[in-house]
Symmetry: C2
Subunit: 342 residues, 2 copies
């Protein structure tokens, strides 16, 4: 790719997901000059993940024709508890053997030869939709990232709301007291019904108990080891009964959980993204909107509910925004106390 369209300093953005790592290089106009996608290692702990992030970023740089060290910086959207000031990531459940705290930012800086800035993956994806995507016309937005888990990002009055560092955990809003067991260990969380990991675990148990389904056949045909969003989409397309039943339950839980959040926050718009949100798209956002309806208190004035506009790249674009925000000295988002050390 020619570098002729590049304006201003180039930045790197990495979206670190439970399944894949997406790295991009963008110019000042947010044009993607190069990208690279790697699977997230399923073993080897933080060191293996860090090495894969470096490899993905180098791949994106190569595609963009730029040296990593020439980037203004690299931003990373990471799961787990992210300490933006030190660049450490703690207790990232969806990453392999990531129990304690790991200084991911410093490790990347060292290898790539440029500054690395970390942010929470879901907040970063929400910020991207707010600044560049479906959330642009609004001042208050709730981002719902529907994927392996269900994460939430909050923008109020134009600024990210992080609470004490742990806000936005919409996946763990309780939709049914004493309900289904969640991968987090609690009961009745929205994610216990709507998260892809929870849905996969339930599909496996149902199949073991004799329920017939094409889900795992489609998975194997595609050379996958997990039920990816594409696998779910294919099974729904084929009318697979178990897949349909589990997605129906997910939509019902999303409707109740997102409506609960709306009753509390009363935002102008809700943006549905994440692997499943983006893959299933507008028809399913339409279904979520309908599932919210019976629970929205201010039903005369429901919020706009939109599908994420940046697609798969939202997380990486948001991560790259972390770099420009840092460079511009934009005031830090509202966070009242640093997240507790874990």
């Amino acid at each position: 790719m020619e570098a002729t369209s590049a304006r201003g300093p180039l930045r790197g953005g990495i979206d670190l997901g439970g399944t894949k790592i997406e790295a991009i290089v963008v110019d000042a106009g947010q044009t993607v000059l190069g990208s690279s996608r790697h699977p997230t290692p399923s073993s080897g702990g933080p060191e293996a993940v860090a090495a894969e992030l470096v490899a993905a970023m180098r791949g994106a740089c190569q595609a963009a024709g730029v040296e990593p060290a020439a980037l203004q910086g690299v931003g990373v959207g990471s799961p787990g508890v992210v300490d933006e000031s030190t660049g450490t990531v703690s207790t990232a459940r969806n990453l392999p053997d990531w129990e304690g705290s790991f200084a991911l930012g410093p490790a990347l800086s060292r290898e790539l030869g440029t500054a690395a800035t970390l942010g929470n993956d879901v907040q970063v994806a929400t910020d991207a939709e707010f600044e560049l995507g479906a959330g642009r016309p609004y001042q208050s937005v709730l981002g719902v990232m529907w994927g392996t888990g269900v994460g939430g990002g909050i923008v109020l009055d134009g600024r990210p709301w992080l609470g004490r560092g742990g806000a936005g955990e919409i996946g763990h809003v309780v939709v049914r007291i004493d309900g289904r067991r969640c991968p987090c260990g609690r009961r009745g969380c929205m994610e216990a019904y709507a998260g892809r990991a929870a849905m996969e675990a339930r599909a496996r148990r149902k199949q073991e108990d004799g329920t017939s389904t094409d889900l795992f056949k489609i998975m194997k045909d595609r050379g996958r080891t997990k039920l990816t969003s594409a696998v779910w989409a294919k099974a729904l397309e084929r009318g697979d009964k178990l897949a349909t039943e589990l997605i129906d339950e997910a939509v019902e839980a999303l409707g109740a959980g997102i409506a609960s959040a709306q009753n509390l926050l009363d935002v102008q718009a809700i943006v549905i993204g994440g692997g499943l949100g983006v893959r299933l798209g507008e028809p399913f956002v339409q279904r979520i909107r309908k599932a919210m309806q019976p629970h929205v208190f201010n039903d005369a004035n429901p919020p706009d509910v939109l599908v994420a506009a940046l697609g798969d790249l939202g997380g990486a674009l948001g991560a790259a925004l972390l770099v420009s925000r840092r460079a511009e000295g934009t005031p830090a988002p509202v966070a009242e106390t640093p997240p507790s050390p874990t």
Copy 2:
């Protein structure tokens, strides 16, 4: 009472509840110089309520030795949808025959001869706890007013968060999909289990179905027509089985609903007030804290959960704060669009 302790301009504050009207006169130091409590009319529509508010305010003024017209202004915390700019109140479910919109502010101004400022009752009570009560040490507070209904007030980064005018409806967070019918008509709301009105309706049905309870006997002995917070407290004290069972369910629902709100907002402190919250006090706040525990995602760092410090007067004190805020020209709280006309 002598007026010698009075400093600065005097202000009136009225808390308009579903059961009672509490009016106070305070000085600049928030000292209560006089107060008056009237029952809320149970018929006669907005006009009857307005007349009772005027009578209560006149009573408080008499106790304080001041003419209503000499007050700097009167603030009112009202249920329903409050339009602060026009002083109208719409669809106040807990007030008699209040279906449409009524210009309560202008009506009070005319009768009392001083400016009247309106605010949402729950937000006003939360603001009072934030500025003068249990919330003083914090920058982000969720107020949970546990009474006839369950209302929520939100303060983030030191400022009330009102959303588009309808934020804070924590009573209508869904705690059980397809759960119990709520007085609002929806299913599974926290208020369907924890609101005093819902609990009374359920107690009546249970009694009609043959469950034995002292609740209605205590009510009659006290000359009441509703199960007030004091009636519930007395029944619990006597070990009434039905009262105990319903309060247990309320605590369970409050635990799940408040934990859900915390998972989203990650505030520093939660203040439990309202008729039942204040009456049942610390032992029940302790129980709510415990009921939240299994659902709080950031369980290594739970929020402080406190009983309201201003007791029964919180709503009226918060209403009086509306007057000083208006006088000082304090920037309006964050509200992005006016509430929809209903």
